[in-house]
Every structure is written in C-alpha cells, then in structure tokens.
Point group: D2
Chain length 340, copies 4
C-alpha cells in the first residue's frame, strides 16, 4: 500500500546506496578517519560557505541533540526549547539523561518567538534567586519544526540576537533541514543557517540516508576532544564510512537539495489534494508534513487505501492525521492518493 | 532589625541546641549508627502510626528530593510536579542531574489537581508513541506548597488514587510539613500523610533545626542499599548524630508540632496586621507564608523598619513581597510589625 | 595495500549488502517494528536454543555495553571486569557516564578467572564498610577477549556459578563472538552461551555488518520499557530496518557462522606465516587476532608491504603489532602476507 | 568506654559549639550569605597566604570530592588517584555518579608517586588510540593519606610539576589536613599547600566540627556559577551559617592548628604505648592514625577495655586494627590505653 506515514519508512536514496556498494570492499580506516568522511566534511563545509566551520557525523537525531547539547552546555546550564520541541517531548529524557534541564517555553505552531525568549530570559535574570535555578545557556529550535512550520530568516535572526546578548548558543535541529530550505516559502540558504546558528545539524535519516546526521559547528565552537565525548556517549561508529559515504553522496551534485526539492513538490500536490477533497484541515505547512482531521469513518475508509500517520487524538470524534511527502514519494504515490 | 524574610534565618530551637550540647562529648558511632538517630527514627515511626514505616535522615530539602526521586524512579521514568514545584524551578536542575525529567503540569496556587494529573496521564498513555517519551513514575507535591497553600485530605487522597491506578508513587515534600499540619485549616494528621503517600519527608531545616530532613518510607518502599545510594550522592554525614539528635529533640514531647503551631499563631497575627494596614493582598495562606504587593515607596519605607522577602516582580510598579512566620517569630516581632 | 589492521575496515558482507538493496524500497515501519527486525529476532532466538530469550538490536559495541550495563545494574551497583576489558579502558568512560563504576580486576591474557572474582567478592563482603563501596552487580567478560584469547566452557561456567551465588548478572561482550565460537579451540555453542550468560551480545560490526549488535536477554531479564531506555541514550535508530535486515541476512543459512569460520581459517594461516617467518611472537590466539613484536626496521619494511595495527609500544625498541583475519580476508591477502 | 575508633565519634570542639550557641538567635541570610561565612572565608584566605584565593564551604568529604571533581573536570576527563584513595574505593561511586572515571594507579602506603603518574601519563599519550580512553584532567591525593602517611613537600611539588606539564589540575583532599600539617614530620604549611595545589579542602568534620569542609580554589580556578552547581548536587545548605560559624571558630586564634597539634601529641603517645606493649605493628604513621595487628584473643581482651576500629582482615588469624587520636582525645584516654 502507498504510504504517506512518514519520511523514514524506505531505505536509502539509490545514489546513496550506490556509493555504499561502490566503496564496500575498499579498505578504509575506522572511526571516521576514512576518505569519504573527509570528503563529505569538505563538501558540507563548502556548502555552508566555508570559513570557520567544522563538521562531525552522528547516527540519529536524538543522539545528535543529546551529544551536541550536553557537550556544549556548561554544568549549570539548561537549554530553552519550544514545549513542542523534539528535545522537550520525544526523546525519552535524553537531554535530562545528560544532566541538563530542558527549559520549555510555549511555542506558536511549533515555533519559538524571540520576544518570548527575551521575556523569559529577562524575567529569569530579574529573579534575585536565579542562581537556584537552571541558567539558560542555549536556545534550541527545529527548522522546519516538528509540525512542519518554517521560521523566516528574520525570526531566526531575532533569536540569534537575543542569544548573543545573553551569552546563549543558538542550536538548530535540522532533522528535516532540506525540506525547510527547499520550501517555496524559505527565504534562507544553508549559508544563512551557518551564519545565524552557532551549531546545527543537517539531517540525513529523514532526507534519504539509512542513518546519519551532519553536525556543523561554526565560529570554532566545536568542543575539544569531541571524539572522546562522542565515544563516551556510545555514539562513535567503528565503520564511520557508513556515515561519510552517505553524506558524500548527499553533497555530490546537490543531491541533498534536489531530493528535498522533490519532496516539497510532492508535498505541494498533497496539499492540493487535501483541499480538493475538502478534508478538514488541521495544519497545512510549506514543508513536507501536512495535517488533517479525520473522523472514524475517514480513518477507516481512507486508511484502507493509503497509509498515513495517526498523529494524535483531536477530540471525541476526530483524530489528527499526518501526510508526509519525502524524497521517496513518487508521482504514482500522489496519483494513488488522488484516487482515494 | 526584626525579620519576616523566611523561616530559616535563625539557628536552631533551644531544645535542639540543648540536645546537641548535652550529647556533644558522648562517643557515638558515625554514619547514622548512633543511638540518637535510632531513637529519632523510633519516635517518628510512632508519630506516623507505626507499622511498615522506615525513616532515614538527610541534610537539606533539595538533597532529599534528589535522593528520594532518583533512587525510587526507574530508568525510564520521570516525576510529575506542579510548574511552581520546588523540583520544577528552584533546585538548579538537581532532578535532571540524576538523569530524570520533571514533567511539569500547571498548578493552581501551587497545588496539583488530581483531575489535571489524570487528564495528563490519560493523554500520555493515549499517545501511540509514548515509549518515545518519559514515562510518569511518581507524582510530587509539596504540603504546604511553595506558596503556603494547603491541600485538603480529599485532594491528596484523589492524587493517591490516580497514582495507585497508574502505578505511580506519591511523594510529598514536607519541607514545611509542620506548618501545614498545624494550620487551622488542616484536616489531616501525620498518620494520614503516612497513609496517603508512598514516601514523604518531614522538614527540619525550616522548622527549627540547623539542618536535616526526615524521609519516611511507607509500605516497605525504601530502596535496597539506601545507605550506599545516599553515599553515592555525597549525602551521607559522617556525624549522623547531628541529624539524629536534632530530630530526637524535635519528636520529644511533640516539640515539632508545638513550634509549628506557634509559627501558625504568629502567622495568623501577620495576616491580621496585613488586613488592618490595608496592604494590597497577593495571597494570604493558612500556613506560615503571606504575600502582599508593595509599591516602591512601601518597599522602601516599610523595608527600613522590618525585614521581608522580595519574592518576585509583579508589574511595572509593584513587587510581590513575602512575610513569613516561623518557629522563631516572637510576639515582640509581631508587635514591631504592627507598629510599622 | 593488503590490510590486516583490523576486522572493521571493509564495508559489509555481500549477502548483507544484497539484503539492504533488495529491501530498500519496501515501506517498513520505523524504530524496529519492521518485518526484518522481527524475522532476525526470531532467527537469533532459534539459534540460541529458543525458550525464554528476547533479542534487541543496537548500533555499536560501546553503545551496547553502556545500554545493557546501565539498564541492568541497580543504582548502587557496579560491574566487575578484567583490567584489559573494553569497558575498563577503551570506551572513554561510557559506563561511568551512566553513573556506574567499573570494578577492574587483573585479567590473565585478557581473561577474568572465576577464582579471582570469587576472592574479590569474598573480600568485598568481608569488609565491614562495604556499604560505602560500589556493590558488585554484574560480571563482564568478552568472548573472545580483546586480546583474542578464548574462555573454555568450564571457565565461563565457573563465572556463572559465582555470579548466581552472589546475585550478580553475567554479561558477555560478543563483539567478535563468531570468531570465538568458530575457533578450533572453542568447546561451546551459541546455545551454551545463552545458557551460561544472563545477557550477551552477538557482534555484527566486526563480523560482516556495516554496524549493529544483537543483544540477547535470557531468563526474562530484559529491562522493562527497554525501548524508552534505548531512546533515552540516543541509541534508537529511526530506520531500525538497517539493523534488522543485516542480522536477518547474518542468521540466514548460518552466514554468521560461515563467515566467522572463514576468518578463523585465514587467521590460522596468518599464524603459520608468523611462525614460518620467525617473527617474535607476543601472543598467538585461537581466534582472529595475532600479536607479534616488530622492531623499527620491521615496522618500516613490512609496513610498506602490508597493513597491520600498531597495538602498543612494548619496550624501547619493539612495538606490539596486531594482524587480524576477518570475514573479508581473502586467500590472496594471505598470499600477499606470505610474500612480504 | 574510652574510644580510639576514629576522629569523628564525638560532637564538636567546645569553641565551635560556643560559636553556634552565641550566634544562634541572630538573624542571618541563608545560603552562605551570612556574616560568619564571610568572616570564615576571609580568615581562611589569610591563612592560605592571601592573593588569588577563593573559599567555599561544603558539608562532608565525599560530597566535597564529588562537587569539586565534577565541576572542574571537562566532559572527556577523569581523575587520577591512588588505588587506596578515598575517591577510588570508599565513596560508593560518587565520582562515577557524576559521569567521570577514577583512573586508579597503585599507591605506596597510600601515596601516589610523581614518577608513577608521569609514567602512566606518558604511556597514555603514547597510545595511538588515547581518544578512545578517558583523558586525565586531574590528580587527586589525600594529605595525609587514608592510611595516615604523609607526603613531603618535595613529593607534592613533583606532582604539581607533572600536573602543570600535562595540563592537569592537582587536587588535595584534606579531610585530615590539620593532622598532616601539625605532624612532627610535616615540612610544609597551609600556604605551601595553597601554592602547590590548584584546589584543596581543609577538613572540618574530622578536625573538631560537627560537619563541614572548606574548599580552597587558587589561581582563580573556582568554576563559574559554583553556587548553582552546588545546589544542583543537593549540597547547598539553607542555613549556611552552620558551616560559616564553625569555620569562623576554627580559624580564630589558630584553633584548627592547635587542636590538630593536640591530636598529634596524643597520637605520638599512642605510638609509644603500641611499642611498649609490643603489639605487632602494621603501620605507624606521623599523623593521627596508627595500625596494629591483633589476633582474636587480643581483639577480644583489649577490645573489652578500649574501643578501636577493625580496619580490615589481615590473614587467617590476624586483623588490622586502627587506633586514632583526635582533637577530642584526652590525656585520661591515653592513660586508659596505657593500662589495658
């Protein structure tokens, strides 16, 4: 059955798989010292505009968030995030496992507003007993957000500004960064991201790779002995080539951007179909995730024809349902959806 | 200057100090194996109604919360607390330091409503991906709350009920438990607390001791090798007698209850004075903390005559100010307040 | 250049790669709910003799050790290991990161002797202050060891016995388990391992997979909500199929055992060559790792012809050097070595 | 019965108790902002030779070690200690609880030799894979050691030298520092300690206080937001005056040194008596702890007359027994020992 459940239910993009096959029997050093890792790092650095950029590869999103946040925060610091942020709710307490608190602030359709962050931080430092509290050391946002919504460049710049004023790092979770950058509504490039964030990651798992995320540190902020800290968290792959080769493929001939753009095109058609069919809209977004409300009958009837994700209960009778486009969505998939 | 800032700005109640002096030169084993610790445990157990009760002493409130919560939660669990709960905001991330998340729910004047907990937990288990989230394993409340408000017996019983239904422990932070139990509005006894909670602590630091909290485990729920876990957290005193002797004094001739009752009587007079003077009320409580709103002029004028605590900014012109009665507040202190 | 550096410097065994390719475009649920994961679990369970066995997949060895040890130890417990054990020295403190101490005991060529463990534990419990120490809750061994040496069945059974007597779990790190089981000197089967250990893992990364280790829990000892604990440690793959498909291939038609046996045959020839050439022997083992001592001239001359691993400095003039056979070593590689 | 079991089985020195009594009813701010804490810090700073010195108070020794080590090590670092060091064996894993490994090196009568540390560190950095290991960031020693032995100034200076060469901090656990400095064999002063160590603590619990240790940071190495980190570890006392007043008394009129000197004089007499009686010597030290070997008959007979500590089993028939002199040992106690 055709599936729009999520963007990680197929294997790898053929070009990525090809790279793994082509390089399979080469002897390469372990732990990320292979030539594909080196090549991928160079390509990503270049795509980020070069300069004072360092790139490291990790395996998955939660792992990346935990490694980045826990190695960059100081002992007494926590990370500010939207209450719907992945680190706030969907990581089984991975940040807390590292001994750091997630300081949740209400988001707006998944987005953290600079004004809210500013007010929160002002209020924090206005409290005479703030040394009895967790001191904010980082702001975490997802671009696009967990709900598929998109920050504008001005919105992120405003966050960068408050971060620099208050000595906080800005960290962008880019699990689906490609789908954000290639959105029709995006007004920013990867270079902009690299300029605005202190650290961010370019998601591979949800954008065509079998696994893997590329962490980008800007301005020389990569923690010292990062490899040791990664190993300490059980996150160092012996065959680092698995990550290096995949990202080398993703950043050859703009593959990452091309397949992200493809997903956006598919997703735009999904939105059209949703509107055509008159399905009740919960949230349509400019990226690859669209949310509608289905009643039980729709759940059953439509669910018998195509796959979608039961996102959350909405009320007594309706469920929030997600349709995701992805790098692997085909025009045939779209036509199947049109016919339900 | 007379001070109503807080309930921990004087040393110890004279009877406690006397006990320390009287026993000072006795040879006693270390690490809580002294006879005063044994005696204090027996007395507290009796005061709790006996039965399957075990008592352990720790030094301070945050330490107690961190030790209790982290030794009783399972790896995958977190603790539900009101957003104003001490563990949520004022422990510098001590719970997170232990690797566990505090699951904050909006409180009502500092109190967690059973209905809100039930809704939250129902919603949690209704989510198909709840295994990607922190599983609730404990409910934390403070009696009285950080705002001085008081749960009724029915309110706590309702929390006990949802906890038992959903396999969660109920933990009561009793930093100021005496001031709660001795309140005119209290409808419960220490025995009730021991029956409703799985684990709770009887606060000493804020009720006449130099330091020390008595943790009470009911129903055999004390973690195995608790002493080792306490030591592991740097919380085992070599001279355990310091805690044992103080609690032995506090639970001799009902001292704990008597001095708590005294604080309540003082606090009731503070409320009277607040009303007489027409100060703008922010929150008057049935326990030992009262909150008013002062403008800058009041802050200065009244602040030059008596001490109070600047709790938090309220708006552009007013500040929330706390007046606390305590075991050490005297009738002379009250008269000084009446004269400001 | 032909390489004998290690057993993880090539990609995946062709059968494994084929499985990934064949299943690449299938829609499969994430997080290990795919059909290949289910199939692989079933096959491994069967290979372990069935019964009360549960299987879970993780990505790498250090991660597996950290996840298993930290979810199975109680708060007050630590893990006993040989001083040369991977958890003792080569995990950048991953076990300590989880809050648990590694209790190192001198090994004998990498092996922990039951008599030493017994003496250590007897001594431990003979200490009146043992509650101020870390209580042993698990014994960790590697089969084969980090040095390529092999435990006999009787040796492991003796460890099982002391573990059961003293309420400790026996955990076997099987990063190279295949190379151990297929050794000419092995007197045990996978079923024996499953009977003797409480928990162990079957290593994939070093035995033909791109990544992946299969943890086997026996006797119902899998921790509750294991998936949540895995996620909490950043170790849950979104595309769990990557692990499932690989292990499904490895446990189809005994591939795991066949390729392990192949490595042993290659390694036996390496030993022959070492002896023929009269290289100074440091340690020859019945598994896939052989250690010789090279002086600087040998390092340079031989190192210019074939790859090997500089294991450790030995003395002023000599270096311990490792030659590893693996699933990917070919007869041509062996001939190249013979010719150096 | 007269007791030589340990140096923490009586309450507080009368001068300390007097200070607590005298200041008991004064209103003082909490959390270490009281005037006695300020005064004590000033006095200790002066005793350390002034300059770039900062002092903080904590409650007990294990807590102090855990707080200091975990706030000063970087994520990827561990602490080197003698295998008999308190942090290595008797803290129930408190250092590991903070996520850091204790790197144990064999000691000599409890002392860590600079040459051994140098060899260990050279070997460490000589290993090509050291980034897979825990990087040494601190050296921990106890002065005097857990066995009562004493480092010479030259020995500590040699440790300071290797620490500065290898970018490691030198931390001295001074749980019994007074007994070390006042030993007849001591060739150093508190100022020397402050010059040689980066951080150390002056033990109160075992030198006349009810509880409390004074941490001394030199050269501006106190971690930022130290109070928040202390609170995070449950180690911040609400009534900080309890620690401040005690140390204020201890550092008034050289009380700390006088009572330490007294303990040494008592201990020298204990040594004389041990020799006179011909008891089998295990280890006599220049500080306040003396160790002899008793057979079962001696254990019983002498044990019926005076108290001593059963340190550890020695062999089938003999036990290592400790006699400790302390600030509270009286000449009458000594005479009682002479008469057994």
């Amino acid at each position: 059955m055709v599936s729009f459940d999520c963007d990680y239910n197929r294997g790898a993009h053929p070009e990525i798989l090809k790279k793994l096959i082509d390089t399979n029997f080469e002897v390469q050093p372990g732990y990320g010292f292979d030539e594909y890792t080196a090549s991928a790092k160079e390509k990503i650095k270049k795509a980020c505009g070069g300069g004072d950029i360092e790139v490291e590869f990790l395996t998955g999103g939660t792992q990346t968030n935990a490694v980045v946040i826990s190695t960059m925060l100081k002992d007494y610091q926590g990370v500010i995030a939207a209450d719907s942020g992945h680190v706030s709710v969907h990581e089984s307490g991975a940040i807390e496992y590292s001994g750091h608190k997630v300081l949740s602030i209400p988001g707006h359709d998944g987005k953290l507003q600079a004004a809210d962050v500013r007010a929160w931080v002002d209020n924090f430092y206005g409290d005479a007993t703030y040394e009895h509290m967790v001191i904010p050391g980082m702001v975490y946002i997802s671009q696009p957000t967990e709900l598929g919504t998109l920050y504008s460049k001005a919105e992120i710049e405003a966050l960068t500004e408050i971060c620099r004023e208050r000595d906080m790092l800005l960290y962008i979770d880019g699990a689906r960064l490609g789908y954000g950058l290639m959105s029709d509504e995006s007004d920013m490039t990867l270079e902009d991201i690299a300029r605005m964030a202190d650290v961010f990651y370019i998601g591979g798992t949800k954008v065509g790779a079998l696994c893997g995320e590329a962490v980008v540190f800007t301005g020389g902020c990569r923690p010292a002995h990062f490899m040791t800290s990664v190993k300490k968290r059980g996150a160092l792959l012996a065959k680092g080539r698995l990550l290096g080769a995949q990202f080398d493929a993703l950043f050859t001939d703009d593959l990452y951007f091309k397949i992200s753009r493809h997903a956006i095109k598919m997703s735009e058609q999904i939105k059209e179909i949703i509107r055509e069919k008159g399905w009740e809209i919960y949230l349509l977004t400019p990226t690859n995730q669209q949310f509608v409300l289905f009643d039980e009958k729709q759940m059953e009837e439509i669910g018998s024809k195509v796959g979608f994700d039961r996102w959350a209960p909405y009320d007594e009778t309706r469920t929030i349902v997600r349709f995701a486009g992805s790098w692997s969505t085909t025009q045939e998939d779209i036509e199947a959806l049109r016919k339900v």
